[in-house]
Symmetry: D2
Subunit: 381 residues, 4 copies
């Protein structure tokens, strides 16, 4: 089997999400990292490359340098796609340039710094004909796939209520003032954009419910707060949701929810049944029925749909986690690329988040901020 | 020990909540039911009385008849207090009359059909000098007491986020059209008032968070919905909350949350830690800390405060349930009455919900309905 | 409805289990306590009686005094049955005498101090024609009834594996030397018999699995240990089990399992499915199937058999606890007595533990001690 | 960083455990698979190699061929170590030969077909001076490391009780007769050895408790059963345990525990506290204390020791699973190899299971079978 070649933008030594992307890309044995612009400082980039087993001449000091240099390499050597794992403000520039130079792109979320960038990038993706994936990784969990399949098949009946939360506590104190890099850029509008926790985790919550239900948020009423002293961007938010099909719901997210680690969870209620899923215990899907006992589905367990079980790597009872969910995005992306390389048409609806999801995420950020600025007025998304 | 004598209004054969009140009143051996107006039909009232071991001459055909007759009995025979377990529209009339005739009152929630009644009743309680308790029973659970004590002592630091939900699914279908009495009156504005699920369970959620935190809701933005075909009253609601101390929060309640039984739960986040409690698994309180591992407190377990453990009846690991929590309201109420009877002053802050809580519950209903009618505008409570 | 009259042996002020029996007897409104020999010291007995609302002249200084005096009262005044809530060595004497004087008996477990007493008592019950119940209260939980019904109906197929544990930590330190009365008598062979934790909680475990499965233990290999310094009786035990139908299993019990509160749980595996139940979270029954997703049954919830739901007092989602389970034994016992009083024949298989269960419990204690004394040799039960 | 080169024995297309080993080896980016004897049929081996990205000339038709050929390659090309992922009977031959040819070895468990082989192999490891790791992967979970560290530091006090279970249901029916390859060899003594479930999962349970506690089993009394019709090897077992320090315990394992997926769990009780861990929910460690509330530790969460947190790859709340635990064995093994290659002395106590653990596992199998054949007589291990 041909293995795909990845070039990375960002993800130098000490990076959290860069390392996640690399591990995720490696799990299924379809992808090799061959080059990277791991830092905007070339020496640091080379230094990171050494620890990652990348030769010096494939370690670049900027994404521009990397894209130009790789484009000149023979086809069998050059990278196939770019993985972008930088802070938000550095998503759009490398993504756009990579696409324009003919490389496929997989990019961390949210899509971009501004909505304008997002819309512009969508056009570029369309005109380029290249594959673009956004790593809303929570969609990669098998039990999320199962929930999606059950709703899609109508098992829960008509959907009427959708509640989602994403609660973290790591910004409960002013860690951004202690030199913590993750906190520093996430609380800085220049690098994060107009959403704080909203952009960082609210967009995951938004993507998760639209992915699972296939139903779009129509309008929202948001109450965003910056509890941390001196913070410009929100670190907490509560949002009323109205969906295109008449369903109602609620979203609560926070990075000052003291004691929470990474608690994203969702409940969806239909006329016949409901589902519940919690990321910190991801290998169970709770299903409650109108007239049957509650059920617990597990990956590769009894009664799970093929739409879910095809994403399971190991037998029932052997838990998969965050990295495997993340890896599923990479694997699905890689399969698309292999189809393209082999001349086959790609899927019309690939099972990973695309540029369309990215644009929706940015619209969500903008609608929520606008609503909150207007004292939680209903705002179309 | 003197036992107190209870007269009941409502609670005839087949009643759900009347039976709960009776069991709750009996558990601690402080109260005997001696009479009742179990039905507005005297024959039915007598028939219920027979099965309950009440003599025919203490079974009345109306609350007026009961109050007048009992008032004429010698002091050592007459009832000490009235327990009101009727639908909402029949709370105010017997409560007011009982107080005016010198009887103490314990009443089911919400307090009354209208806010005007609530305010009027508050005056009557004050002028009568009698004890009035409202059975917001969820405040009776030991772990709720523990949460309250921890927050009151400042263990969690300053409170910043308060989320509460109360999810049931029993009105997912149109059971009110099938002759189900519980559903019939709860969906009927004449008997329920202007709130449907809002009044029935939303008020429990409101009371629970104000009880636990000691912090009042200042304003709210409510999105109420009647999903059930032909329903006039809400069967679902989502509410943004702002609290007097600057905390923010969210409430979601529903009676069309298919598959949910009686899922009321609360999360409170402070600067130092947070608590989580779920009624369906009431014997654990989850406490998450800024810098210590998560803890699970249990009734009578290690580290529990006296403010909680005094409400536990049995050793650690022996679960108590709904009836015991309910019984705690009755026991605290009974202790107050015994103090009154023995000439002692009553507690300034008795540890059971009072008329004040009842009025707040009605204000909550009115504010939420007003807000929802104005498309979720912020409304003061 | 006629209410039954209870006389109590033991259960004076400060008693744990006496208070539990009283609350359990009161919950369903079928039983009034009318007299008691609460202490072998008459003054103390009277003092206890006062706090319990029992007139002085019905407070006795010994069970003999009580039984003789009550037997002389007019039938409509005298107690209907005796509740025995004393330490083990004081079960047999009052039980035997009460039966011989024509009173029904409900008795705490284990049945008696010695196996000889148990066998003798069984004869007395049979010759007396009176009702005898043993408070193996864990059989009173609705989810235990559901498990029993499912196995009885064959839902799980042929039973092959039965594991049970009962883990407590309250004897992890030498509390019996600190004046703790519960610990003092339980670690004293004169009052406890030849089993320590074995008799106190091992018998509950034994009764629970035989009750749920309807299958008897045939032989066992026991390894009992007294970890506590200076303890004569076991405070910990592990037992291999072989059942009459060929099933195998294991029992582990302990009172030195540090940090455990009252953790009794059971797993039963059949050819088609399996059940799991844990007393500390008693309102769920976990059912795992050969070829269907795992289910969670709840009291009064979807899909529960009538054999279980008839024991539920409140709607689904409203948790019941230890006292309600205990009360179920009293209620079933009371129903039998009312049938007897009304001249009807009693049930052939009443749904509460009987003298037969009591004798089996004593045989279990004796077999386990014998096995352990023989280095865990297989011993018939 | 130098990457290590792996050659695999077994693990051809359709293999479960081979694929697990490959994914586990790849996650941390330290190892590349460079060759394999994926099947004893050379064509099949080449076919597997193709899908795995291995060139044809490094796909061998037998382990002998691979070892001989690789040994002749230049040092910078040849494999560094052999990973053995075959059924039990094919562990010893390739392991011994690889060691003798100077290759390090990582091998699936149990160590070998017979105890004699195990003892022989231990000698070979010692004389070869090569690194040998056994993939008792459950020791790789961060919360298992935390449990081990807590016990080692004395946090729980003196250990008195150790219970372990490993319950699966996949052999509840006669799947070995349906062509299922995993079941076929595991139920065949020629390929599995004298233990069935005992060898397959009982050894995991044995290793887990000895690893966590650092205390060895001294003797055991085992009751093994073959419930499946026609099965020669046990598919279920219950074992009494006595430990070298006087602790007692129990083990229950089964592959006919209908409905169980991969339920391995352990409870360890000391004089000061206790721990509980369950593999199906691996990211929490429950710690119960003598005199403090229960705690839940999580990977990278508050209060976790460095001995645990160094094995965590992602921030708190991002669950890791089976593959990451498995990968930890590979990573620790790889670190040892890198030290050897760089001329440094290896760890005296490397933190992965070694040949010593392998021999103990075989002794456990032999002791348990001997005990069971003698009607559960106590047998030294």
């Amino acid at each position: 089997m041909t293995r795909l070649k990845m070039g990375m933008v960002g993800g130098g030594t000490g990076s959290f999400i860069g390392d996640v992307h690399r591990k995720a890309a490696s799990i299924d044995g379809m992808i090799d990292m061959v080059c990277g612009a791991f830092s905007s400082n070339k020496e640091k980039s080379i230094s990171s490359a050494k620890t990652l087993g990348i030769p010096d001449d494939r370690a670049y000091g900027s994404f521009e340098e990397m894209i130009i240099a790789e484009a000149k390499l023979p086809a069998h050597q050059q990278m196939d796609f770019v993985a972008i794992v930088t802070p938000n403000h550095m998503h759009y520039p490398p993504a756009k340039m990579a696409l324009e130079y003919g490389f496929h792109v997989i990019c961390d979320k949210p899509l971009s710094l501004t909505l304008d960038e997002a819309i512009e990038l969508e056009k570029t993706v369309q005109s380029s004909g290249k594959i673009f994936a956004l790593t809303h990784n929570y969609t990669g969990y098998p039990m999320v796939k199962q929930a999606k399949a059950m709703i899609h098949k109508g098992d829960l009946g008509a959907i009427r209520k959708i509640n989602v939360h994403y609660l973290q506590g790591w910004l409960s104190t002013a860690v951004e003032k202690t030199g913590q890099k993750q906190a520093a850029w996430r609380t800085d509008p220049k690098r994060s954009g107009i959403g704080g926790a909203l952009g960082d985790i609210g967009t995951h919550a938004e993507n998760l419910i639209e992915y699972i239900t296939g139903i779009q948020i129509e309008e929202l009423a948001a109450d965003l707060t910056a509890f941390g002293e001196g913070r410009i961007l929100d670190d907490d938010g509560n949002i009323l949701l109205r969906f295109e099909n008449g369903a109602k719901g609620i979203m609560s997210f926070s990075q000052i929810a003291t004691g929470e680690e990474n608690n994203i969870g969702v409940k969806v209620y239909g006329t016949k049944g409901s589902i519940e899923w919690y990321q910190e215990n991801p290998n169970q899907l709770i299903v409650k029925w109108l007239d049957q006992p509650k059920q617990i589905y597990t990956p590769a367990g009894n009664g799970v749909y093929p739409e879910s079980s095809e994403y399971v790597r190991i037998p029932a009872g052997h838990p998969e986690g965050y990295l495997e969910g993340f890896a599923t995005i990479y694997r699905s992306f890689a399969k698309e690329l292999l189809m393209v390389k082999s001349g086959k048409t790609t899927s019309v609806n690939p099972d990973f988040p695309t540029i369309t999801d990215g644009v929706r995420g940015m619209k969500f950020i903008y609608a929520a901020v606008e609503s909150s600025n207007n004292n939680a007025n209903w705002t179309k998304m």
